[in-house]
């Protein structure tokens, strides 16, 4: 059996197939095909025709040497150089054996065993190399598949990234558009809120128009009456002075002068009273400056108590209610203004107006039920308490059931009939007190009474 021919056939077949020579390298495909089929023919001849044994062996050597040559020289088969390392010892030893036998048969017999042993090792070497190469090839194949898979994954990821980027760009565009729309809506809402606040203020002011008119009318009446009186008294005094000294009534003169002085003070007092009411009204209708000012909280409470009373009265002539104010003297402004506290007066005024108008509304509703012995009463109380001021507004009206009490500070919540309440009064009051770092709370006994308590820091 000629192993070299078998090896040449196997290597030729392997190279022809592995390097896709038919498609990529047709020239080498043809050469390797000649070796492959030539090798088969020679092998058949080697087996069947005894005379050809020597010829086929040398042709086998030639084929193998040629294969070693092309494996060593041709770049096409660079990747198959490990085959060269595997087969080279066997091919060379086999050639050496035949050459030795041809040149010196005597010497050959001496070396034959040694060469056969070496040939045996070269076959083992060839198999080991075959196994190692095969293993490496498999690992390389595995690595190649892995790399290919990774590349595919990378391409997939890149493609997904691209797609994602497109989606992100589209989404960003949508979000930006939505953001702009939301900002626009927010601006509109802020504007609507400001309009609502203003509308609520003007509504509460509108309800009080008659009350305000009454409050201004009263001091103006005093101004008119006292100034008319002064004119009359001055004429009387002039007449008295014109009398001869002996007929003059000094006591009357002094009395008239004292009254004139007192009346002037009263004119001044009532003028200021009207002035304060007009200023408060203007402050109430104007947008709040948000600036805290030193304010006489007792005077503010008193003023809004009267305004709320007359406002309710103006809407319903049959309405009447008792009023009681208990003011902490330490909160009176005093001559040096030491009793004043720092608040935004028009804002706190609005809170007081809301609470007091609600209180008068409540007692009036209860009064309409004509309960025997019922005396409507609204009270306002101030108290200094450490670094805080407490303001309590209470009424003996219908009270607030617990389920409603939880909702009264929510915007647009109202129990009043349509058109009588905006539902914003207490909600805005809550916001105003919060903005003052204060607290507002409500306690109520349904059917009996309600008390709102405001706690404001004094500074």
């Amino acid at each position: 059996m000629n192993f070299e021919l078998i090896l040449a056939i196997i290597i030729a077949a392997y190279l022809r197939k592995s390097f896709q020579t038919k498609k990529e390298f047709p020239k080498w495909y043809n050469i390797l095909s000649i070796i492959f089929y030539g090798g088969i023919v020679l092998l058949v001849l080697n087996i069947t025709v005894g005379r050809w044994t020597s010829v086929t062996r040398w042709l086998g050597h030639a084929l193998m040497l040629y294969l070693i040559y092309i494996l060593f020289v041709e770049d096409v088969f660079k990747k198959a150089k490990s085959i060269l390392i595997a087969i080279a010892p066997f091919v060379l030893l086999s050639l050496l054996k035949d050459v030795s036998a041809l040149i010196n048969i005597t010497q050959f017999k001496v070396w034959k065993n040694l060469i056969d042993t070496a040939l045996g090792f070269s076959v083992i070497w060839m198999f080991i190399m075959w196994i190692i190469t095969n293993k490496q090839r498999k690992e390389l194949e595995k690595e190649r598949i892995k790399t290919k898979h990774e590349e595919e994954q990378k391409i997939l990821v890149e493609s997904m990234n691209d797609q994602l980027e497109i989606q992100v760009r589209e989404r960003t565009k949508e979000i930006t558009q939505q953001k702009e729309e939301l900002e626009h809506t927010l601006d509109e809402l802020k504007s609507a809120q400001a309009q609502l606040i203003q509308a609520e203020k003007m509504a509460s002011l509108g309800q009080l128009t008659a009350g305000i008119a009454h409050e201004i009318q009263n001091p103006l009446n005093f101004v008119n009456n006292f100034s008319e009186l002064n004119k009359e008294m001055l004429e009387e005094l002039k007449d008295e002075i014109a009398k001869p000294a002996a007929q003059r009534d000094d006591g009357l003169g002094n009395e008239l002068i004292a009254d004139l002085i007192s009346n002037s003070e009263k004119i001044n007092y009532h003028g200021k009273r009207a002035d304060n009411i007009v200023k408060s009204m203007l402050q109430h209708s104007r947008a709040s400056s948000g600036t805290k000012e030193l304010t006489d909280i007792n005077a503010l409470c008193d003023e809004y108590l009267r305004l709320a009373f007359h406002g309710t009265r103006a809407k319903d002539k049959s309405f009447n209610s008792g009023m009681e104010s208990v003011f902490d003297p330490s909160l009176d402004a005093g001559d040096d203004g030491s009793g004043k506290i720092k608040i935004v007066p028009q804002d706190i005024g609005r809170v007081l107006l809301n609470l007091l108008t609600n209180a008068f509304y409540e007692v009036n509703e209860k009064r309409k039920k004509e309960m025997p012995g019922y005396q409507p009463m609204v009270k306002i109380k101030t108290r200094r308490c450490d670094n805080n001021v407490e303001i309590e507004v209470s009424d003996n009206g219908r009270g607030i059931p617990e389920e409603i009490r939880k909702k009264i500070f929510q915007p647009f919540f109202t129990t009043k009939p349509t058109g009588e309440g905006t539902g914003l009064g207490l909600s805005l009051s809550y916001d105003i007190i919060n903005a003052h770092n204060g607290q507002i709370s409500v306690a109520s006994v349904p059917g009996e009474s309600t008390t709102f308590k405001i706690i404001l820091p004094t500074s």
Binding site: A213, N225, N320, M323
Partner: protein, 124 residues
């Protein structure tokens, strides 16, 4: 003539005392003052404090002038006093209510004291 003035504004007293200085000094008129409806009612219920004429504001906290008028007419002290209503609200509804409840006259603020003086003197 005993006159009871009912008004929650305390300065009204000064106006009457100065405007009717001569009448008060001469004893022609005697003014008393009440600052709420209830106070006026309490005053009138004392038999020796009877007033011939009552001048009452309508718009007062607690008992209003109209409620006071109603109670005065219900309790009918003898002889029934003359009642003049004074208010800042000069509307017809108040006038009608006051008339229905038995008011003898109706004045609108600001009160013309010369006119009032003439009216009071005519009563005297």
């Amino acid at each position: 003539m005993k006159v009871l003035v009912v008004d929650d504004e305390h300065d009204v007293r000064l106006l009457f005392e100065q405007k009717f200085r001569k009448e008060i000094k001469s004893g022609e008129m005697n003014f008393s003052f009440a600052y709420s409806g209830q106070e006026a009612l309490d005053y009138l219920r004392k038999s020796d404090q009877g007033a011939v004429l009552i001048l009452s504001d309508i718009n007062m906290p607690g008992m209003s002038g109209l409620e006071l008028l109603k109670k005065i007419r219900e309790e009918s002290p003898a002889p029934p006093p003359m009642v003049m209503m004074i208010t800042a609200y000069g509307d017809q509804q108040n006038r009608d209510s006051a008339k229905q409840l038995g008011a003898d006259d109706f004045l609108t603020k600001p009160v013309d004291f010369n006119e009032l003086k003439t009216k009071l003197k005519s009563v005297v």
